[in-house]
Amino acid sequence: MPRYIMTADLRRCIGCQTCTASCRQTNATPPGVQWRQVIDVESGEYPDVRRSFIPVGCQHCGDPPCMHVCPTTATYQRDDGLVEIDYEKCIGCGYCAVACPYQARHITHRATFAYGDKPMAPEEARFDARRMSVATKCTFCMDRVDAAKENGLTPGVDPEVTPACVNSCIAGVLAFGDKQDPHSNVSKLLDETQHFRMHEELGADPGFYYIWDKK
């Protein structure tokens, strides 16, 4: 089975938030709910200061704490590594949200829209009542990954079956693919570079790799 992962080349990231905007739109999340986000982190003291931009979101962990704690099995892990949520099963207890060390989960209890309480036409068309009061998060654009099986395309290579954030990235930061396949784009990228995973010490085996230098 494949193990889909995402990589973020931090050498390239410029914090433009194109991935954030694209994700918000593609997944029709409500205002403020950013399944993909790029944070802006300053470190050091003047004048020796650095500023780093870090794409964050669900890491689709190999050993996901969110899944283990979920009392309903709404959060589950697929054979291909994607960690997903069954909105029909979720009771919105929020336990997964406090179990996730990546702050990736969101629960909204009230429908909100870009301009007040009334949805615009696209918001109305894409409003999904199933998502109210349950946990939501980045799905690695699961529907696209699933479509790949049907049409023989390769996630991470063919845009139709690649997560929206990766497709949108304007600086070549984000990549997506199968880590099990040694010839995949992400495997090659990881072979050529030095990288880390965030909070690796917490043992969740995150599926999101941050590239920081060439080898």
Binding site: L10, R11, C13, I39, D40, V41, S43, G44, R50, S52, I54, V56, P65, M67, H68, V69, C70, P71, T72, T73, A74, K89, C90, I91, G92, C93, G94, Y95, A97, V98, A99, C100, P101, Y102, Q103, I107, H109, M132, S133, V134, F196, M198, H199, E200, L202, A204, Y210, I211, W212, D213, K214
Partner: protein, 290 residues
């Protein structure tokens, strides 16, 4: 934009209430079983314990987003301590009520035991919340157990003053023992979070709390109980006072950990990215004590 850990927003006072009700209830059930001087006393205490546990669970039910799907909570006993807590709660209530109804027999012991298991589940619930550094510390489990027992002993001690037949001195001894256990558990917990580090804001809550808790939550009831044990004349009054203080501070402890120190993990980089031919710079963990 948030980079440093921020307080989680999913569990509020209602979640804390579950740990408060569950801990005190389970502890009380345990000590009611061990030390009730009369059937009436047991019945009263057991019913009160079940009510406390039930109140806590009701608070949680009121907090979840989809309350009418609450029964789904039983679907994941393989790994979820919340499911296990729910599963234990059912026989706990059945046995507890049976024990009250029949006034003795095996139900009494089983109910007390289930209460302890329930309390253990609660400790493990917090420990499994890997996103909250103040909760995931392994020493949280003995701390939750210890404070649950302390609160139970303390409430039982306080109630002994008004309930017939119970030996306050015995209970006072038990409370002292529980307090000592809680002191040890707290110390181990606090040392552990100091050693591994916490989000600065969480530590800003825990450190001043700890100083006060050790004085008010530990030293004060310990002195009162010891004084009561040695000077029998003041025992009833001191025991009630110590019990109430120990219960209240246990609740304060759990409210603080669950609802005030629950800062999340935030973000960190073990090394900073190299931009072009730039230098390699060490990593950062913004908003952490270490």
């Amino acid at each position: 934009m948030r980079v440093t850990p921020w307080h989680q927003t999913n569990w509020d006072w209602r979640a804390a209430a579950n740990f408060i009700g569950g801990g005190t209830g389970a502890g009380l059930l345990f000590f009611a079983t061990l030390a009730s001087g009369s059937l009436e006393a047991y019945r009263f205490q057991a019913l009160l314990a079940l009510a406390l546990i039930g109140l806590g669970l009701t608070c949680v039910w009121a907090e979840i987003g989809r309350p009418w799907r609450a029964l789904n909570v039983f679907l994941h006993p393989q790994t979820s301590w919340m499911t296990r807590e729910g599963i234990v709660a059912v026989p706990l209530f059945l046995c507890g009520l049976a024990a009250v109804w029949f006034g003795g027999g095996i139900f009494v012991g089983v109910a007390a035991l289930l209460g302890v298991v329930f309390l253990y589940c609660q400790g493990r619930i917090l420990h499994a919340a890997k996103g909250i550094p103040a909760w995931r510390e392994p020493m949280i489990v003995p701390l939750i157990l210890a404070t649950g027992f302390t609160e139970g002993a303390a409430l039982a001690t306080a109630l002994a003053a008004v309930l017939p037949g119970t030996s306050p001195r015995w209970l006072a001894g038990a409370l002292l023992g529980a307090l000592i256990l809680r002191r040890i558990a707290w110390t181990l917990y606090f040392r552990a979070i100091e050693k591994t580090g916490l989000p600065t804001k969480a530590m800003d809550v825990m450190r001043p709390f700890g100083a006060k808790f050790e004085m008010i939550g530990q030293l004060a009831p310990e002195i009162l109980v010891v004084a009561g044990i040695f000077y029998g004349g003041v025992l009833p009054f001191f025991a009630v006072l110590a019990g109430l203080v120990a219960v209240a501070t246990g609740w304060w402890l759990k409210y603080t950990i669950v609802a005030r120190a629950a800062y999340n993990q935030g973000y960190a980089l073990p090394i900073l990215p190299v931009r072009g031919q730039g230098e390699v710079k060490p990593g950062i963990k913004p908003g952490w004590t270490k």
